[in-house]
C-alpha cells in the first residue's frame, strides 16, 4: 500500500474473516447449544416417537415434523435470535471491546456485516443440518415426501427476522441486559399499547368499542403475530379447504399438509433484512463513547424517555387508579380528577425512571423537572381532551343513507343475546334511533343506577356501521334499561325494544344465528341434507335459578329423531312462515315460553368464496311459532313425548 497517496481511502470491504473466526471461536458454546436444542426438539423426538410404531401414519409424522418447523421454529428463532445478536454484537456493551475493535483498521460497515453475517450463517447452518436430519429421519421411517420437504426449512424465516431485530436492539443499546428487555417489549409493544390505549379511551369516551387498529397492531407485534397465525394445516380428502391439522375424525383421510402462514413468515424475514440494513446505518452513526448507555443512539433517548413515561401513565396509571378508587372506570363513581392524577403520577414515575436509566444516577430532579412538567401537562391535557369529547366522537351517529351495512349486537338480562347484520334502511333507522336514544341517556347511564333491582336491568348494545365511503363507526354501550319505560316509544327502553323487533334480529332469533345475513342477502339457494330433532320424553327437571337441565336426568329423558332432507326443508319453511307472519318475537323485556325441543337443520350451499360449503342451524321453539309446532308435532308423534313449555 502506498503511503505516498495519503488521501486515498481503501475500498469498502463488508466482511473480515479474522473477526468472523474470532466470533465463532468465542461463541461456539452458543452455537452448540442451538444445534443441540434443535436436535432435541426436531429429529430426535420424531425418530424416537415413530420408530417403534406398528402402523405408521405418514401424515401424522409429517404433521409433527412441520409443527417442529413452524411453531417450534418461531419459538426457537425468537429465543435464540436475541441470544445470537447479544453474542455477535457483545463488543457494543463493553467500552473496552468497543474501543479496541473500532481502533482496528476496518470501517464500521465491515465490523457490523461481519458480526451480522457470522451469526446469521451459524444459525442457518444449524437449521440446514437440522432440516437434513429431519429429512433423513423421515426417509428412515419411509414417509419422505419431496414436495413437503422444503417446508422443513421454514425456521430460517423467523430466525432471520428475530436475529435481525435482535441486532437492531443491540446497536440501539449499550447495555447487554437492556437488549433482551427492548427485544421482548418491542416484539409485543403494538398489541400491548393497543390494549392499553383502548382501555384508556374507554375510560373517557362513552361508547368506546376499541380502536380499528387491531389487525395492524398484531402485524406490528411480530412475535405475537407469528405465534397466533402460524400453524400446520391439513387438507382432507373430499374437502377443498385447509383445516386444523389435529382435527380428529377416524373417517378423515389426509390429502395434503402444509405450514399455514409461510407468507407471513417470509414477510417478517424480508422485514428482518430491512431491519438489518437499518441496524447497520444505526451502527455507523453510533458513537463509541455511548457504549454503556441504556440508549446508545442520542436522538432515540427522548423517544425512549417519553415513551416509557407514556406507557407507564397508561399501564401503571390505570392500575394505580383501580387500587385507590376501585374498578369504577365508566360508571357514576368514576373520578376524572382521580384518574388524571393517577395517570400524571404514573407518567412522572416512568419519566424519572427513564431519566435515571439514561443518566445512570438517581439524582435526576434537576435535570428532569422540565420534561416531567411537560409529561404531566400533556397527560392531563390528553385526558381532558378525551373526557370533554372535543372531537365529537360520542355524538357521532351516521345517516342511514351513508351506511352500507351495520353489525348489531343486543343483549339484555345477561342471558338474552341477538346479533345480525342490518342492510335495509328500515332496520338501520331502528338502529340509529336506538343509538341516539343511548347517547341522549348518557348522564343517567353513567350515573350507574343499581341494575337488576326491580325494573332496572343490565344489557348492552353493539353497533358497527360500515360506511359507504369505506369508513367505520363502531360503538359499544353497557346499558341499564328501565322496564317501566316500555310504554314510551321515545324512551331508551322503547327504542331498544323496537330495535329488538328489527327483521334481521328476528331471523337471528328464529334460526339460532346460524343463517348469516350475508347468506340471505346474496340469495343463495339452500339445499337441505337432513336434520336432528331433540326433545324430552317428559318434562326434564331444571335448575330453578339457571334453567339448566339437571345433568343426571338429561340423557335418560331426551329422545332424538333424525330428519330426512324433505323433513328438514318442511321445518325450515314452517319457521319462515312463522317469521313472515310475525309469530317470531324477540322478547327482550318479557318472558317467553319455550318448548323443550331443539331442531338442527343441516344444509349446504354454493361455497363460492367461502371456506365451508355446509352448515347447520339450531332452532329453539317458542309457543307463538304455531306453524313450526304443527310440523314438529307430526314428526314427534311416533316418539310418545309430552310437550312441555318452560320459561328460561
Amino acid at each position: 500500500m502506498s503511503w505516498e497517496v495519503p488521501t486515498m481511502r481503501s475500498g469498502t470491504s463488508y466482511f473480515n474473516g479474522a473477526l468472523s473466526r474470532s466470533l465463532l471461536r468465542r461463541f461456539w458454546p452458543l452455537i452448540a447449544a442451538y444445534a443441540l436444542t434443535w436436535g432435541l426438539v426436531g429429529p430426535l423426538p420424531l425418530y424416537s416417537q415413530y420408530v417403534r410404531a406398528r402402523a405408521l401414519n405418514a401424515w401424522a409424522v409429517w404433521r409433527d415434523a412441520l409443527s417442529a418447523a413452524s411453531n417450534t421454529g418461531v419459538l426457537m428463532g425468537l429465543m435464540f435470535g436475541i441470544c445470537f445478536a447479544m453474542a455477535m454484537f457483545s463488543h457494543l456493551a463493553s467500552p473496552r471491546a468497543t474501543n479496541g475493535l473500532h481502533a482496528l483498521p476496518a470501517r464500521r460497515e465491515t465490523l457490523f456485516c461481519t458480526a451480522y453475517l457470522t451469526g446469521l450463517a451459524a444459525q442457518a447452518a444449524v437449521l440446514a443440518v437440522n432440516a437434513a436430519l429431519m429429512g433423513l429421519v423421515l426417509s428412515a421411517l419411509g414417509v419422505f415426501r419431496a414436495a413437503v420437504f422444503a417446508q422443513l426449512f421454514a425456521p430460517l424465516l423467523p430466525m432471520v427476522y428475530a436475529y435481525s431485530f435482535g441486532a437492531l436492539c443491540m446497536v440501539f443499546t449499550g447495555q447487554i441486559l437492556a437488549a433482551p428487555v427492548f427485544y421482548g417489549i418491542l416484539n409485543f409493544l403494538a398489541v400491548g399499547l393497543d390494549a392499553l390505549l383502548s382501555r384508556f379511551a374507554g375510560t373517557f369516551l362513552y361508547g368506546w368499542a376499541g380502536g380499528p387498529s387491531g389487525a395492524v397492531s398484531v402485524l406490528l407485534s411480530p412475535a405475537y403475530a407469528m405465534f397466533v397465525r402460524v400453524e400446520v394445516r391439513t387438507r382432507y380428502v373430499g374437502e377443498d379447504y385447509w383445516s386444523y391439522a389435529y382435527r380428529y375424525d377416524p373417517a378423515l383421510e389426509v390429502a395434503d399438509i402444509r405450514i399455514q402462514g409461510l407468507g407471513l413468515l417470509a414477510a417478517y424475514a424480508a422485514a428482518g433484512l430491512l431491519l438489518a440494513v437499518l441496524a447497520m446505518l444505526v451502527y455507523r452513526a453510533r458513537h463509541s463513547e455511548d457504549t454503556g448507555s441504556v440508549v446508545a443512539i442520542r436522538w432515540a433517548r427522548p423517544v425512549f424517555q417519553y415513551g416509557v413515561s407514556f406507557c407507564a401513565a397508561l399501564a401503571l396509571g390505570q392500575m394505580l387508579y383501580s387500587l385507590i378508587f376501585g374498578q369504577h372506570f365508566s360508571n357514576g363513581a368514576f373520578s376524572l380528577p382521580g384518574m388524571l392524577g393517577c395517570m400524571a403520577a404514573a407518567g412522572l414515575i416512568g419519566f424519572f425512571t427513564a431519566e435515571m436509566l439514561l443518566r445512570k444516577t438517581v439524582r435526576v430532579w434537576k435535570t428532569g423537572w422540565k420534561g416531567a412538567l411537560i409529561v404531566a401537562a400533556a397527560l392531563t391535557a390528553l385526558g381532558l381532551t378525551l373526557s370533554l369529547d372535543l372531537t365529537g366522537y360520542e355524538g357521532r351517529v351516521p345517516a342511514e343513507a351513508d351506511v352500507e351495512y351495520a353489525e348489531v349486537g343486543l343483549s339484555a338480562y345477561g342471558r338474552f343475546y341477538t346479533s345480525a347484520n342490518f342492510y335495509d334502511e328500515a332496520s338501520l333507522r331502528l338502529l340509529t334511533d336506538a343509538h341516539r336514544a343511548v347517547i341522549a341517556d348518557k348522564a343517567r347511564q353513567q350515573r350507574g343506577d343499581d341494575a337488576d333491582d326491580g325494573e332496572l336491568h343490565r344489557g348492552y348494545l353493539y353497533a358497527a356501521y360500515h360506511l359507504k365511503n369505506g369508513g367505520m363507526i363502531e360503538r359499544r354501550y353497557e346499558l341499564i334499561f328501565d322496564r317501566a319505560e316500555r310504554n314510551d316509544p321515545a324512551s331508551l327502553t322503547g327504542r331498544i325494544e323496537a330495535l329488538a323487533g328489527a327483521q334481521p334480529l328476528l331471523r337471528d332469533k328464529a334460526f339460532g344465528g346460524a343463517f348469516s345475513n350475508d347468506l340471505t342477502q346474496r340469495e343463495r339457494e339452500l339445499t337441505f341434507t337432513g336434520g336432528l330433532l331433540s326433545t324430552a320424553r317428559k318434562p326434564i327437571p331444571r335448575d330453578p335459578l339457571s334453567s339448566v337441565y339437571l345433568p343426571q336426568t338429561y340423557d335418560e329423558e331426551v329422545v332424538e329423531r333424525e330428519l330426512s332432507a324433505a323433513e328438514a326443508r318442511a321445518v325450515y319453511e314452517a319457521i319462515e312462515r312463522d317469521l313472515a307472519a310475525g309469530r317470531v318475537k324477540n322478547p327482550i323485556f318479557e318472558e317467553s315460553e319455550y318448548w323443550d325441543c331443539t331442531v338442527e337443520l343441516y344444509y349446504s350451499y354454493a361455497g363460492r368464496d367461502s371456506q365451508y360449503d355446509s352448515s347447520m342451524t339450531r332452532t329453539s321453539i317458542t309457543r307463538e311459532m304455531t306453524d313450526t309446532i304443527a310440523v314438529l308435532t307430526q314428526l314427534v308423534a311416533s316418539l310418545g313425548v309430552t310437550f312441555e313449555y318452560y320459561v328460561p
Binding site: 500500500m1 503511503w3 486515498m8 481503501s10 479474522a18 474501543n99 483498521p105 463509541s288
Partner: protein
C-alpha cells in the same frame, strides 16, 4: 505526520477537547502530558479512529483518520485498558490482529515470544495488568506500524520490562522511522525517550515543542544578591516561578538563557547559576501559568 487542528469533542455538554491543535513530526517520539482530565485519552482515541470529532480535523499524513482503514492499517495503538474480549487467548488475539493487519510479521511474533515469555494459550483476562500490557506490545509491534499510539503504555510493567519495551520501540523508531505518540504521567520516563513534548490542559494543547527547544526556552537560575532580600526583577522578564531558601533565590524564567543572564548580570548578583530543568518542572510551572498548580493547603 500526525496533525490535529481545532478539534472539539463534547460529552453531554462538557468539552473534553476544546479546539485542540497538535502536530507530531514524522519519525518523532512525542510525549503528550497533562493533568488528569486534560483530554489526552480523548485526543488519542480520535487518532485511533475510535471517536469522531464534533469539529476540526484529525489527519495522519494528510489523510483523515475517521473511517479510513488505509490510514488505520499503518497505525497500531495500545489503549490504557487493552483487554478486548473476555474469552480470548493470546493466540486468538494474534489471529485477530493478523487478520486485520496485512503487514503482521509472524517471524517477529515468534521472536518476541521469547522476550515476553507468556503462554499463547493463556486467557488474556487471567493475565495480570502488566502481562496484558506485554501482550499488547507484542502484538502491536508485530503489526509493523508506521505510527504507534500509546496511552499510559508502561503503566503496570516492571522496571525491566519497561526498559525492554522502550528499547524495542526506539529500535523501531531508529530502523523504520516509526512515529510514536505516547501519553503518560511518568515525566521522568518520557524525558528519556521523547524528542517532542506537548502539554495539554482543559481540552487544549497549551504548548508543544521539541524537548531541547523546551529546555532551551525555560531557564532555572539560582541567585544570591548582596544585602538582605532580593531586588525587584526587571518587569520584562517572564518569571514562571520564584522561591527562596535563606539568601538563595531560585527563579524559573521563560526565555533564552543568554538573554536572561545578560539582563540579570546588570543587577550584579553574588551568585548566578543555571540549573538543569527537568520535564516535570517544566510541566508544573507551565501549568502553573495556566491556573493549575500545587496549592499550599494546610489541613
Amino acid at each position: 505526520m500526525i496533525e490535529v487542528k481545532g478539534v472539539v469533542k463534547t460529552f453531554d455538554g462538557f468539552a473534553a477537547l476544546d479546539g485542540a491543535d497538535m502536530t507530531v513530526p514524522k519519525g518523532s517520539v512525542y510525549g503528550l502530558v497533562g493533568p488528569n482530565g486534560a483530554g489526552k485519552t480523548t485526543l488519542l482515541r480520535h487518532l485511533t479512529g475510535v471517536y469522531r470529532q464534533d469539529r476540526g480535523t484529525v489527519t495522519i499524513d494528510g489523510a483523515p483518520v475517521w473511517e479510513n482503514p488505509a490510514v488505520k492499517l499503518r497505525t497500531a495503538s495500545i489503549p490504557d485498558d487493552w483487554n478486548y474480549f473476555m474469552q480470548s487467548t493470546v493466540r486468538d488475539m494474534m489471529r485477530l490482529y493478523r487478520g486485520f493487519y496485512p503487514r503482521f510479521d509472524m517471524a517477529r511474533y515468534e521472536k518476541l515470544k521469547a522476550v515476553f515469555d507468556i503462554g499463547e494459550t493463556r486467557m488474556i483476562r487471567r493475565l495480570s495488568k502488566g502481562m496484558q500490557k506485554q501482550v499488547a506490545f507484542w502484538l502491536a509491534l508485530c503489526c509493523l506500524p508506521d505510527c504507534l499510539i500509546l496511552d499510559e503504555p508502561v503503566d503496570g510493567l516492571d522496571p525491566v520490562m519497561r526498559r525492554q519495551v522502550w528499547s524495542l520501540i526506539l529500535q523501531d523508531v531508529a530502523e523504520r522511522g516509526t512515529t510514536v505518540l505516547v501519553s503518560s504521567h511518568n515525566l521522568r520516563e518520557l524525558e528519556d525517550v521523547c524528542d517532542h513534548v506537548g502539554i495539554m490542559n482543559r481540552g487544549k494543547v497549551l504548548l508543544e515543542r521539541s524537548l531541547s527547544e523546551l529546555q532551551d526556552n525555560t531557564v532555572k537560575l539560582q541567585l544570591v544578591f548582596p544585602g538582605e532580600g532580593a531586588p525587584a526583577l526587571p518587569d520584562d522578564l517572564n518569571v514562571l516561578h520564584e522561591s527562596a531558601v535563606g539568601r538563595v533565590h531560585t527563579v524559573i524564567f521563560r526565555g533564552r538563557q543568554e538573554d536572561i543572564l545578560q539582563r540579570l548580570g546588570g543587577m550584579q548578583p553574588l551568585l548566578m547559576d543555571a540549573v538543569p530543568l527537568t520535564l516535570e518542572e517544566i510541566f508544573i510551572y507551565e501549568l502553573g501559568g495556566a491556573d493549575y498548580a500545587v496549592r499550599d493547603i494546610v489541613l
